[in-house]
């Protein structure tokens, strides 16, 4: 029996579509974790990245913070937080946010730094205020790279949120972890398929958001 059979068996089983362990519930949980962690990480990373990038100061400090945050193993951190804090949202959110902040922070900073200085100079010379320069000139031009940072963060969150099931949380990881313990391979593969599909959906969402919000004048350049 190959993987495809497992997948079709999993999705054709009506029991998998209802209840607290049903696909809709697990998907909703996973989306909730992802959005929450992404929102927190963006709320931290975006303003700091935009400001430091705009002023051009603190780049080395940011790089240092990002490197050390990246060195922390998310899975280990999650287990550690679970041991220290017990059941609750915090042990899941802390590792996910720690995971997501570096790419957002560093890419936003670098995106702002890589904006062509000529239009920025022109904007100031025309009498645009600092806020105007930041939001109406630098940000629109830095947007593609900023989005790629957010996208990378989102994908890593989706991926790592799966592991949260190991420390008794919901989400799509439940199928995989439970399936592994129960030696129910159909469930494992079904869960893996769902997680992969969600990650690809995330890619698609970011692609679509980019299409809508990034000016064609900027997009066509790369």
């Amino acid at each position: 029996m190959n993987v495809l059979n497992f997948i079709s068996a999993f999705f054709n089983d009506s029991a998998h579509w209802q209840g607290y362990d049903g696909i809709p519930t697990r998907v909703a949980e996973h989306v909730q974790y992802t959005l929450m962690a992404l929102a927190i990480a963006a709320a931290v990373g975006l303003p700091v990245g935009l400001l430091t990038g705009h002023t051009g100061r603190g780049g080395n400090t940011l790089a240092l913070i990002a490197t050390s945050a990246r060195a922390l193993p998310s899975f280990g951190l999650m287990v550690l937080m679970f041991i220290l804090l017990g059941l609750g949202m915090a042990p899941v959110m802390i590792p996910l946010v720690v995971l997501a902040v570096p790419p957002i922070l560093v890419t936003t900073y670098e995106a702002m730094r890589s904006v062509d200085p000529a239009p920025v100079d022109a904007a100031r010379g025309m009498g645009m205020g600092e806020a105007g320069v930041l939001f109406r000139v630098e940000l629109p031009m830095a947007l593609p790279l900023i989005f790629s940072g957010l996208r990378s963060a989102a994908i890593q969150i989706v991926s790592t949120a799966t592991i949260a099931a190991y420390v008794s949380f919901g989400g799509l990881g439940r199928y995989i972890i439970d399936g592994l313990y129960q030696r129910d391979y159909e469930k494992v593969v079904g869960g893996a398929t769902l997680v992969a599909a969600m990650a690809l959906t995330t890619l698609a969402v970011f692609w679509a958001v980019g299409r809508i919000t990034v000016s064609p004048g900027v997009r066509r350049r790369g």
Partner: protein
């Protein structure tokens, strides 16, 4: 001191044995990734149209969560180290391919023309001119790939205890030994930082021609790669 690093017998390894295992499971895939990425990147440089689809494929593969990837591979490679290492090698491509492409592309056209004019064939030109000049960019890519690979190996614990230092997490949780969890987390983090530092030293040794303190180029690259 010895007590601190004592390992339960079912882990089948001493602490430093696990460290060695962890390094092997994390770095072999990066090495394999590099071996694949070099020719792929060269093709992308040679045929520009190839680069976007290659990036698209690596990004999509990178999006597949590690746990899902492991699970799907179990059917083919069983509960083995290989199951952990294959996804890690695939993930490293998303960082390494653009790092090499950008690095090789950063070689000025005049430099290449000069090399050709001096009679260097394509292979020599690649090995003696393009690759050395691209080295800082490639090493920057290797840093990101290695650090994330070291972090991800732990997840292998979930599929038949193939997570090296990560295996201690399960043990710590099951037998209520926070010491093991701490050892795992800190050990992994220290390992990541050491490997990162080692690669920085390697870059300095390999590129004595680069002015000191101008790491801006490679840092920009790290940021770009982190964003993939």
């Amino acid at each position: 001191m010895n007590e601190l690093f004592d390992m339960p017998s079912y882990l089948e390894h001493s602490y430093f044995g696990l460290v060695g295992l962890h390094l092997r499971e994390a770095l072999l895939p990066v090495l394999a990734g590099l071996l694949v990425a070099l020719p792929v990147a060269q093709l992308c440089v040679r045929f520009r149209w190839l680069y976007p689809p290659v990036m698209w494929v690596t990004t999509v593969l990178y999006a597949i969560p590690s746990l899902a990837f492991f699970v799907i591979l179990i059917d083919y490679t069983g509960l083995s180290e290989l199951t952990v290492m294959i996804p890690l090698a695939v993930y490293s491509l998303v960082v390494l391919v653009p790092a090499i492409v950008d690095g090789v592309r950063s070689v000025p056209q005049e430099t290449l023309a000069a090399a050709t004019a001096m009679g260097l064939g394509p292979v020599r030109r690649y090995l003696q001119v393009q690759l050395p000049i691209a080295a800082p960019a490639i090493l920057a890519g290797l840093r990101v790939a290695s650090v994330s690979s070291i972090s991800l190996v732990s997840v292998g614990m979930l599929i038949g205890n193939e997570g090296a230092l990560g295996n201690m997490l399960d043990a710590g949780l099951k037998y209520d030994q926070p010491r093991l969890v701490w050892l795992s987390v800190l050990g992994t983090a220290v390992l990541a930082i050491l490997v990162d530092a080692l690669l920085i030293v390697l870059r300095v040794l390999l590129t004595p021609w680069m002015p000191r303190g101008t790491r801006k180029g490679s840092r920009t690259l790290v940021a770009k790669e982190a964003a993939r």
